[in-house]
Symmetry: D2
Subunit: 153 residues, 4 copies
């Protein structure tokens, strides 16, 4: 059951098969005294994209009983500086769904150009932080059948 | 049993009776594109002062069983801009200890001058968020006997 | 030229004369280990409301040549806890426009109920941080003629 | 002139040749509603380590005239969760000094165990954001002669 995986295109133009596109804006609170976006804040917008996608698919993001999806790896390349007020688009794709993990890829675009791109790997854990095999229903919602999930948002 | 309360001096020179003095530094992550400290970040440093004081007195800050101390009021006046790298001192005082609440006052100084000052009121709550009367032992640790608690930090 | 000022209603039900209503959502990044919104993050949403209003009125928020609007006072009362995913509404009003300052009031609502409310005073400064008298054009855009500005957003 | 580069050991036990060790603590403001450190906050502590090292070597971190060191790449692997109050140690090493860039490596330890590790690449830019060749004096301060710089902090 191969996954029609998202990929960051070689030219960096776009995630080829996004599961979700999230529109956002760089807040004053996202900037630092270089006048650019403070680099860790890119993950705020990417995580909002991920959570909006999960919620839209009916997958719990965090739950005191059911656990959640902590990150075990993140990376980001910054191509151009983002500034206060910039309207951005986070294209979110899924590169791979493992037994208990999801490898996300993302690109952050402004005016159709890539400003940042990267990866995040999240792990499905129970409420004690122990890894859990991702159940079949969730795998389908994540698109593991090779079809892009319907994005209701 | 009157409290020898901390007060912000009329001249704003210092909390007259600090229970704790916390030394810190303005991080790059605290600034915004005005090149000054992003105003809500002042509360990070003040909260660190409060938590260091509480921990030093053996008062739990947050506990899944015992609850914690959420804020019901905060205020801050900003007198001068703080910038990246500034070494600051948070003087923390207690203005009043109520049945279930603590009214903190603070001043943030640099080179002996007040850059910001304000108040925070925290409420003692159980792990369901319901207010709890502050027990006598905690009141003594907070200095409700009118004596400044020994600050072991 | 009296200002038909915004007021926080005595019952705390709503800013009576909002200049702007901003819809937002509590992000994972806004929460802390109490599982509630980390209190300083309320100001992120309020500042986004302010900046969206200013931008909508064509008033520069920050500019290397023209300066900006730093805060000299902020306060907030927290009535109920906000949690991850909560859809919120920031009602923003103007209480007073001074020679060089604007006194904002705000309420943060969820499902029609007030969760937090407070004030912020910003000062118009030049690019050296020196206070500037607010020009007539800006005063009109802010609604100093007693009419609620048309909110184009 | 080969660089006696820092390396993240295969067993992940420590940066083999740290240029700086930074002690810090996980603040309440660093956590999220999973009760763990919110992942992007790891970079706050790592960046503080970097900036403390640079300042200690007399290398400007940011300057309106001289420019600064924005990031073009960051990555982090998270091995174990960090929680509020945890005392941490950031071991910072330099993997490579390029013509205009520095490749940093880091490990975040608690009680001698690695909780997170990763990389950051910063680029030396002028005050317009254009890359600048790193001058010889700075290269020596960074340890490009193969000797670990004396760390005065």
């Amino acid at each position: 059951m191969p996954l029609a995986a998202g990929r960051i295109s070689e030219l960096g133009s776009a995630v080829t098969n996004p599961v979700h596109i999230h529109h956002s804006q760089v807040s004053f609170a996202d900037t630092d005294c270089s006048s650019w976006l403070h680099f860790p804040k890119i993950f705020r917008h990417v995580e909002e994209a991920e959570h909006t996608f999960l919620a839209g698919q009916g997958i719990p993001v965090i739950d005191r009983e059911l656990g959640g999806w902590p990150r075990v790896h993140v990376s980001c390349d910054f191509k151009r500086p983002l500034c206060f007020g910039d309207k951005i688009e986070v294209q979110l794709g899924i590169e791979r769904i493992g037994a208990a993990s999801v490898s996300w890829i993302f690109e952050v675009l402004k005016d159709g150009e890539v400003y940042a791109f990267g990866k995040m790997t999240t792990v499905r854990v129970d409420n004690q932080g122990k890894p859990l095999v991702i159940d079949e229903e969730t795998r389908v919602k994540l698109g593991a059948d090779g079809n892009r999930p319907a994005d209701p948002t």
